[in-house]
Amino acid sequence: MTSLRFRLLFGTLFWIAASVLVAGWGLGRLFHQHVSAQFHAELQTHLDQLTAHLEIDDQGRPTLNLPLGDPRFDKPFSGLYWQIDRLSEAGVPASGAALRSRSLWDQALAIPANALADGEVHQHRIIGPRGAMLGAVERSLTLEDRPLQLIVAADERLMIEPVARFKGELWLALGVLGFGLALAALLQVFVGLAPLRKLQAALGRVRDGQAQRMEGRFPSELTPLVTEFNSVLMQNAEVVARARTQAGNLAHALKTPLSVLANAADAPENRNTDLARLVAAQIETARKQVDYHLARAQAVATARLPGARTPVEPVVEGLLRTMRRIHAGRGLELHVEPMPSSLAFRGEEHDLQEMLGNLIDNACKWARSRVEIRAHDGQGRLLVSVDDDGKGVAAGQRDAILRRGVRADEQVAGTGLGLAIVGDLAHMYGGSLMLADSPLGGLRAVLSLASAR
């Protein structure tokens, strides 16, 4: 019952079924009553006709002065019968019918004993010829002092058959109606709930980073929701931008004095004193801490932000332009395997730049002559590998490198936090960083991240 569509459909279909059933039962019953009334009215008409044609002949026997109009009275066992009995003084039929229709052939109708006032009409259900159920009307009357009982009976099948036929057609018609209504309900639910599906799709695009906000026109009932959601998204983006600016300002505010201190400690008159060495070491520690925590603080703010989608190719190209400048003196060959332009990272551009920048920069620092970068989509994961032909890292040391602040070789310039930050950022985005041996001879770093469609 968690689906709105299912709820609506279930309710509607239940009521359609109930209505069709009640209508079928009620209409069938109504028709049955109508046909039954008509049946008995017809019997009554025949009885009246029989009464009108009845005479007593010279021998005192009842006779008809005219045959009854309906030909079925003359056809044996046609289902329509009449019979005239003489009644005894006690009002009981004397044995042997006085007169009966040809259709009864050698049979007689047996009416339960009852006393009727003259002219009164009774209805009965009796068993007739060949065991058929008959509907019968009887009337007693006294003609020339002779009490007589007149019976007209008809096979109930004459009544049941049209009712059954009607009911068959009725159920067929109601079935078609019910089916049509169900179809209409289905369509209505489908059309009526279409905006919800659209909402879901728009939300999906935002989550996948294909859209920054929920786009499209929505019905007035949903518009407030969409507007509210978009404004929350926008506020989030503003908060992130502000956090980033503040982080930058903090970095600037902290590092400029650190630079002044470092330069003062490094001045010729102070150089190589214990104080200068202490200051230099502490400044280095402070700088590492500031860098590390700023990068983390930014990523924490952005990793949970929906709506971010960053194509990989431009980021890699921008970083390569930068690396070629920064490492211009090294004569490195930086090679990028062609990648599809649709390849994208589900996250912020800054963070992808930070991760790939640190990986490629690290590779450039250690490479002898060549760095290779590959990116592809593997089952919904964005996989980027960076290879270098440097001296590599022993398997036992790789874990230590990924831990904060440890550097494989303190001789090469760098924070020693580069790979640790990459690992941390990747982790925040639900990804991972793995280190392995490169076929080029050095280190291979493989970054696995969520890819965006």
Binding site: A253, K255, N263, D291, G318, R325
Partner: protein, 220 residues
């Protein structure tokens, strides 16, 4: 070699100027983006050290404006923000190298030397012209292995000629590159410096091109 140092923090700016001067360059100093842009746009600097967080106009904008106006001097960006986003933005705006604060003065000078060398099309730290060698790292000149004793002005004239060896360098160009902006310039002093240099160098190394200027003639 004349360097523009752009840094808004006065103490750090003073340290930078001191460090760069000590390495044998002359420096001008700008404390905000607008001044920096004007100076870089009108004076011929051999390199610029540019802080990104500047008042009035940020460093990236200054750099973009220079590049858009066709200023090609090498620019070393100095910034507090150690993010790759900013490094890429800086390089794409036209920077040649990047250094994050806090930095070691030696590293800044090494990068500055490399930028100036690369801008002149030179690969190594040592510039050679016939028997004359100039080590840009130590700011020393030698002739056939014998160290020359040069004043700072003589060194600057020689260094500029060495970076542009084979080219004709006019007197006014020399003046612009060996004096800071606020210095009282006198074109006659150039002739004095060149005259003193000629006495210390092998004859005919510095040619006078009549009406145009000087040229360092290097025979292999």
């Amino acid at each position: 070699m004349r360097i523009l140092v752009v840094e808004d923090e006065p103490t750090l700016a003073a340290q930078l100027v001191e460090g760069v001067n000590a390495a044998g360059y002359v420096t001008d100093r700008a404390g905000n983006g607008v001044d920096a842009h004007f100076m870089g746009d009108t004076e011929p600097y051999d390199a610029v050290v540019l802080d990104l967080g500047l008042p009035q106009m940020d460093g990236i904008t200054v750099l973009r404006k220079w590049r858009a106006a066709g200023r090609t001097m090498p620019v070393l960006i100095l910034t507090a923000r150690d993010s790759w986003h900013e490094k890429v933005a800086g390089i794409d705006a036209g920077a040649d190298d990047y250094l994050t604060k806090p930095f070691h003065m030696e590293e800044l000078l090494a990068r500055l030397r490399a930028l100036i060398r690369r801008a002149g099309g030179h690969a190594g730290a040592e510039l050679v012209c016939g028997p004359l060698t100039l080590d840009t790292r130590s700011s020393r000149a030698r002739v056939s292995g014998q160290a020359l004793s040069l004043t700072s002005h003589e060194y600057r004239v020689l260094a500029y000629l060495m970076h542009h060896r084979g080219e004709i360098v006019s007197r006014s160009e020399l003046i612009q590159h060996i004096y800071a902006q606020d210095f009282d310039r006198d074109s006659n002093t150039i002739e004095v410096f060149v005259g003193r240099l000629r006495k210390k160098l092998p004859p005919d190394l510095i040619e006078t091109v009549r009406g145009l200027g000087y040229r360092l003639a290097c025979w292999s």
